[in-house]
Amino acid sequence: MQRTLTDMAESAPIARVGDDVWRRGRRRRTRRRLVHAALALTLVLSPAAFVLQSGWERQSEPATAEDDPLVLPVRIGRAQSATSTLDEAPNGPAIAAFNTPITLRLGTAVTEGVALIGRDGSYRVLPKTVDNQWLLSPDGRLLARHGELVNLIDAGREAIPEARHLLAWDRTGKRLLYADGSDLYLRDVEAHAHRKLSTLASQAEAAAFSPDGSRLAVTWGGRLHVLDVQSGAEQWSANMDGHMAGQAAWTPDSQRVTLLQVQEPRINSRGYREPSQWRLGFVGPSGRAEFEQEWQRGWAHHLAGWLGGDPVVALHDLAEHDGIVLLRTPLGGGDRQLLTVFQTTVPHVAWSIIERADFGGRPLAQGFDDFQRSFYAAATVLLVVTCLVILVPLFLRRRRRA
């Protein structure tokens, strides 16, 4: 075998090697080195780039005075991981709040909570305790939730064990309505005391204070009941066609209650999918609901407030804005005005903000607070070191193999 192979090899012509072999090899070496350097640089710097674009450069300003003019951003982004908790650095009063999913923390895992956006654009998380029920006061200073009242300015807590089912804030933010079973309680927040207002036939489902503070619209047993705030006596009731539109359901003149009708998407008789529609209606002491508004395309969630006599509706808009929009929808059919887009879960905006604020502020994306800076700095160092730990042995191995 060896002889035959040698014999065959001896018959091979000697290859002509071009003069440029050396130069081509060196050019290829330069190219490869540049590519490797670029790759290594990309690999090492990408975590840093990620951190930078995530909000490293954005920093929340110190909170502004409460009476400063408010400008609501045109777009509000979701809360990021490792957001500081309210207890670590209170940022109240809040302009809006929304439920937020898992937020990663070193050492602790906050799995769910309420994200609070301060007037300075800062984000805080209030970790979930018992359930996801909560109500933001109209001035954004307090947040009521199961069994407690949270002061968003100093993170102080006030226990209210009877507050098992939260129903409504009044416009002043000084009275809170909640229920324990079928018992309805009215709390005077400043006096730190409550009184039982009524015992209902069944548990209340939703409620709204009239803007003048004299009446309450409460729904239970499928009907809408209007109660006197002082005595708890029922003044009138009505069948509901749709459901009460939310905490801001009373019209600004405190005469009627707004109902929201939503038509789910459906397949029509011709097999086409008809999108969901909604419209607002009103019910007054006569007990008859009137739906003056035409059906609107979209999926309305609740009535968020009133602006210049026009209702402002929170509307799901995943197709165009990938989130929830606050839409001013004149009842007479005038031009609708997009106020703000929340790229979050359903937000609750403090009513006073909707009434007082200007709109069209620059988009708000969460900036890093001190904790997040430390968190992401540590994460970046860890990623860079990990990249180096992977790259250096690879490099050395290649050199050894050579």
Partner: protein
């Protein structure tokens, strides 16, 4: 030593080894033009890493030439479809060695590239199984099995090499 020195030593190495490399390349490819290309490409890669390997370039050069050949084959396997049967050759060939050489060339062409490489490393370059395994980056057991399979295949595709393959 500067770049000029490196270039000089590279050219010195090439001029001393090009004949040997051409033979290996020819055994691997069975075609003088392909062999020339293979040598050329291998030397470009050698030039690329010359500073790192210049003290003992042979192992690297050998590995480059064999691995490059395998990857070439993978890229161009569709073009190289061997026929099922070797062409008939005149039994009246006067030069028995020439006949064997031709048979060997065509039989090698019908082996898988790694089998071919194993045979050349073991029987032409006279490397041990361990050295062969190192050059090809495979296990010693794989070298043994590839050698066994290659010889068996040679016996099938070129029975006239029976005596040669047994040696």
């Amino acid at each position: 030593m500067g770049m000029d020195g490196a270039e000089e030593s590279f050219h010195e190495y090439v001029s001393g080894r090009v004949a040997g490399l051409s033979r290996i390349a020819y055994l691997l490819t069975g075609d003088p033009h392909l062999a020339e290309d293979l040598v050329q490409q291998a030397l470009i890669r050698v030039a690329q890493r010359w500073e790192a390997i210049r003290d003992d370039p042979d192992p690297y050069v050998r590995r480059v030439i064999y691995t490059q050949h395998v990857s070439w084959w993978r890229r161009h396997r569709a073009d190289a479809v061997p026929s099922d049967r070797l062409p008939e050759r005149s039994t009246s060939d006067p030069a028995h060695q020439i006949s064997l050489r031709l048979s060997m060339r065509e039989a090698l062409a019908r082996l898988a590239p790694r089998q071919r490489a194993v045979l050349i490393l073991r029987y032409y370059e006279d490397l041990t199984e361990a050295q062969t395994a190192e050059v090809l980056g495979i296990a010693v057991g794989t070298v043994k099995s590839q050698t066994r399979d290659a010889l068996a295949r040679l016996r099938v595709v070129a029975p006239e090499l029976e005596g040669v393959a047994a040696q």
